[in-house]
């Protein structure tokens, strides 16, 4: 009984949302090459991660607006590839700096986790 419970839980967690802190990093990385609209960003992240990381659309837009507010992203209205009005997000200079910092932090963190996992 208890066992089946545990298994069920794990299955639920397999397709976990992108973790809170890492979403910012992924967004910054996604727009680092070119300005993109929100939907494009979500697709890009999924594509990059070969479908493992799925951005919860519910947290994407709040995150985008938060990053704009922190002046790491700049938003402007433009025309999409299929000729629709869409809002494009572009990395700012501060955003670039933040991306570098967060990338370094993430590497340190994942490296540490790897090291711990390697102990076994």
């Amino acid at each position: 009984m208890f066992l089946s419970n545990v298994i069920e839980r794990n299955r639920v967690h397999e397709n976990a949302d992108v973790l809170q802190g890492t979403l910012d990093l992924l967004i910054l990385k996604a727009v680092s090459l070119e300005a993109m609209h929100g939907w494009g960003i979500s697709q890009r992240i999924q594509q990059f991660s070969s479908g493992v990381l799925e951005v919860n659309q519910g947290s994407l837009y709040p995150a985008l607006h938060r990053l704009v507010k922190r002046r790491w992203l700049e938003a402007s209205w433009g025309t999409s590839e299929n000729n629709r009005r869409a809002r494009f997000y572009k990395l700012t200079a501060a955003g670039k700096k933040q991306l570098v910092e967060e990338t370094a932090t993430w590497r340190r963190f994942s490296g540490a986790v790897d090291a711990v996992l390697a102990i076994n």
Binding site: M1, N5, E8, Q20, H37, G38, W39, Q43, Q57, G58, Y61, P62, H65, R66, V68, K69, W77, S80, R84, R85, A86, R87
Partner: protein, 866 residues
């Protein structure tokens, strides 16, 4: 960004909606490409994105709105939330509506009575002066005209003093004679009161009595009713049974010095109409006085004390003590204490209501933990969230206050229906001041119910609940503890109210069971006035004798007689007496209540003659029948038959011929006084107005018609008035206790229901919280009964804690209703125990519903729930 948005008057939300719409289209297109039908694709895209409303709100947190915009947003958001929880909204608004309604209703009465200033210039300096009858503990004893003159001349604290007394006039009209209640006042009366006439003038203080004695002032209502409000009435002469008088003015519409008494006309008091007017023991008038500026009530009292004491030494019949009461306080004397108690009770109901609502808000904030936590994570400041939650509470209380006004309106209808005539002014309404009060209550309520849950809900500790993602974080347990304390508090408050209500309900029952000492059923009372100079002592007596012989046996009327006061009425003659030949302490000043009666009074009233005989028409001198209490007080252990009592200065005395049973004729809650019933011939000079008592099986109308016909045969100018069944008089005398009891019981009932809801709410919540634990217990073999007991024990435990605290509170609170109690102690153990047991039983019942739900917990589901 926002600045530009604002300058271009562009709605930032419109951008957001556009952006999200774009996203939806793209997502739907992608889903269509994978083979989904267009409709299904749109739906799925929408599902993935979530509600647009939710976004707009969350993104506003990110942008950080401020000021009016933020307020409007909050208000809209709160309305949306209300719709999301309809049952919650309904319960909260109903609870607040009832609680605010109760407060508003009682405050409207307070507003129309306690808070209403006297409508005269410097009305706060008007005082009513009384003799203080210390031996009989009657602090408001009528004043003798001789005392009035001496007080007026010798005191220094008053700018002036006026005397007045009730009386009547018979207006001759084309059809039936009309009886008017007319005050007889000294000519300076209106100057002392500071009253201005509606039209015409008042008495000139300097005019000679020969002039003023033929003048009359009409009351506004009478002027409207009888003379169609014709202003040319001033200067006209009108005919009264006692002679012609010229109208000199009309009283202002609002004139009611004592707030209730019906007054039709005012004439000048003729001191010569007072028998033995120079006697300081002839207490016949009321005195009104105006304090000099800067003189306090206490200073005036001290001044009057000195004068009264000196007069008592000078004159043998002087009372020796007097009281100064402020007119403002006197008007509301009967109302003040009960109203304050009811206001306190209403406030307790509101407090209990607030506790319930705060409890519900706490529950909801637990449900909304995730929402709040998410928005905090998105950057909404705590202040912003607290404001928003407070706006939500404010909307609920405003709706509650609106409902409260409606409830208050109907409560006032009920109060006016239950109140005995004359107790309350007719001016009670939901005026601006009441609306302001309700608004104030709503604001306080918002803060009471809103602040704590709002701060709790936004507590930084809760941010963790986003990661926990569950209902059952430590926050849930904290909330439960807080809610338990609240429920204990409200149970305690409810118990206090219930104990008070229980005590006054039993008091009312005792009042209803009191034996008044006479048989009120089938007795109709009506007032008749025999005006001088047409009637004198001997024709007054023969009038009643004639009436009795004509009326008895006619139209089924069994008995008829008259007494100078109606049964169960406060007033009556109280006079100095001496017991002739009795061995009494020297210098003793005995004062006794006296009722003038015609022969047959005891038979008509169904009283029992215990010894001797009734007074008789054939008595040469006025005779006396003593009550049992009088016998105990004046001739303990002796037979009173043949004893003599002197009234005033009389040293020979009148003979006692009989003894009757005690009655509560001077008020149902007043212990039977030592009453001396004196043959009417002995009081005829001071009792021109008499109350006829008529016993017969017919209804009130039939008996009145028969009586009216018989009176008309003797003197067709005599009006009969104040017709009332004796049973109604008794009803009215307990009208105020009945009203108080009804209201207090209503409040206690509401408190009980609210407490039950509170217990139910917290136990339900607790069962939800503990469903996992219960599941484990069931899995480990707990039986249905075990689970039931587990939950019920929690509910009863809360109630018992509340009851224990409440009992302590009740010991203090019942002091407030002590003066309402009759035949029961304020610490009555049976009432307290019964209330406690009752409340715990209700708690048991309220816990039973969630307890049953707990027994249905499926251990599998419960343990997975997290």
């Amino acid at each position: 960004m926002r600045l530009i948005d604002r300058l271009l008057k562009r709605d930032p939300d419109a951008d957001l909606t556009d952006e999200l719409r774009f996203h939806l289209e793209m997502e739907a297109k992608k889903l269509r490409d994978t083979g989904l039908a267009p409709d299904a694709a749109r739906q799925e895209a929408r599902r993935r994105l979530g509600g647009v409303d939710k976004y707009t709100e969350e993104l506003r947190d990110v942008r950080g709105g401020r000021g009016w915009d933020a307020f409007v947003q909050d208000a809209r958001y709160a309305l949306r939330v209300s719709r999301r929880f309809p049952a919650f909204t309904l319960i909260v608004v109903a609870t607040l509506g009832i609680a605010i309604g109760a407060n508003t209703a009682i405050f409207s009465v307070v507003n129309a009575t306690l808070l209403r200033p006297l409508p005269y210039p410097n009305g706060d300096r008007l005082a009513l002066l009384y003799s203080n009858n210390v031996p009989n503990s009657i602090p408001r004893f009528s004043v003798s005209y001789a005392d009035y003159l001496d007080w007026r001349a010798q005191t220094r604290s008053f700018t002036d003093m006026a005397a007045y007394t009730g009386g009547s006039l018979t207006l001759q009209t084309d059809d039936a004679p009309l009886r008017l209640s007319a005050w007889n006042v000294t000519s300076n009366f209106f100057d002392v009161g500071g009253v201005q006439p509606h039209i015409g003038r008042f008495f000139h203080d300097k005019s000679p009595p020969s002039e003023t004695s033929s003048e009359v002032i009409l009351a506004y209502d009478l002027w409207q009713r009888q003379f169609a409000g014709d202003p040319s009435i001033v200067g006209r002469s009108i005919r009264f049974a006692s002679g012609t008088r010229s109208v000199i003015g009309v009283l202002p519409k609002s004139f009611d010095l004592d707030g209730r008494r019906n007054i039709d006309a005012v004439i000048v008091l003729d001191p010569q109409s007072i028998p033995n007017v120079a006697d300081h023991g002839q207490h016949m008038v009321s005195v009104i006085a105006r304090l000099k500026p800067g003189i306090t009530q206490a200073a005036a009292q001290a001044d009057l004390n000195v004068v009264a004491k000196r007069l008592a030494e000078q004159f043998p019949n002087g009372m020796g003590a007097a009281n100064v009461f402020m007119a403002q306080d006197e008007l509301v004397r009967d109302l003040k204490d009960p109203l304050l108690v009811l206001l306190a009770a209403a406030a307790l109901v509101l407090l209990i209501g607030c506790i319930n609502v705060a409890n519900l808000l706490l529950t909801r904030s637990t449900i909304r933990e995730r929402e709040v936590a998410l928005r905090q994570a998105l950057g909404a400041s705590r202040g912003r969230l607290v404001t928003q939650l407070l706006v939500e509470s404010a909307e609920l209380t405003i709706a509650g206050a609106a409902l409260g006004l409606i409830i208050a309106y109907y409560t006032l209808v009920l109060i006016e229906k239950l109140a005995p005539p004359g107790l309350l002014p007719s001016t009670i309404s939901l005026d601006l001041r009441v609306l302001a009060f309700t608004f104030g209550v709503a604001v306080v309520t918002t803060l009471l119910v809103g602040v704590w849950p709002a701060f709790r809900a936004t507590s930084p500790r809760l941010a963790s609940s986003l990661r926990e993602g569950g209902r059952s974080g430590s926050a849930g347990r904290h909330a439960l503890r807080a809610r338990r304390s609240l429920v204990i508090a409200e149970t305690a408050l409810a118990l206090v109210l219930l104990v008070c209500a229980g005590l006054v309900i039993q008091s009312l029952r005792h009042l209803l069971e009191i034996d008044p000492g006479f048989v009120a059923e089938h007795v109709v009372t009506m007032r008749v006035n025999l005006p001088g100079p047409r009637y004198n002592d001997s024709t007054q007596v023969s009038f009643f004798r004639d009436l009795q012989s004509r009326l008895e046996g006619r139209g089924g009327i069994e008995a008829v007689a008259a007494g100078n006061t109606a049964p169960i009425s406060g007033g009556g003659i109280v006079t100095g007496i001496r017991l002739i030949g009795a061995d009494r302490p020297p210098g003793e000043k005995l004062v006794s209540p006296v009722t003038g009666v015609t022969p047959g009074y005891f038979r008509t009233m169904g009283m029992r003659l215990l010894q001797g005989r009734d007074v008789a028409w054939s008595d040469q001198l006025p005779t006396i029948v003593a009550s049992q209490a009088a016998v105990r007080a004046y001739w303990p252990g002796q037979s009173p038959i043949g004893k003599r009592v002197g009234f005033g200065r009389d040293t020979i005395g009148l003979e006692v011929v009989g003894v009757v049973n005690d009655t509560r004729g001077r008020g149902i809650t007043t212990d039977p006084p030592p009453m001396l019933y004196l043959h009417y011939s002995g009081v005829a000079s001071v009792a021109r107005g008499m109350t006829l008592v008529v016993r017969g099986p017919g209804d009130v109308q039939a008996i009145t018609a028969t009586t009216r016909a018989a009176v008309g045969e003797i003197d067709r100018t005599l009006p009969l008035f104040n017709v009332q069944a004796a049973t109604v008089l008794i009803e009215q005398s307990i009208g105020q206790p009945r009203l108080n009891t009804t209201l207090l019981s209503l409040f206690a009932g509401v408190a009980l229901v609210l407490a039950a809801i509170g217990i139910y709410g917290v136990i339900s919540y607790s069962v939800t919280q503990r469903s996992q634990e219960i599941g484990v217990r069931v899995a480990l073999g707990a039986q249905r009964g075990d689970v039931l007991r587990l939950v019920l024990r929690e509910g009863v435990g809360l109630a018992a804690a509340g009851v224990a605290i409440g009992i302590i509170g009740a010991f203090f609170a019942t002091r407030l209703v002590q003066s309402w109690l009759f035949g029961i102690e304020k610490t009555d153990a049976v009432t307290m125990a019964a209330t406690a047991i009752g409340l715990i039983s209700i708690a048991l019942l309220a816990s039973y519903i969630p307890a049953r739900r707990a027994t249905k917990v499926d251990p599998l589901v419960a343990m997975r729930a997290d």
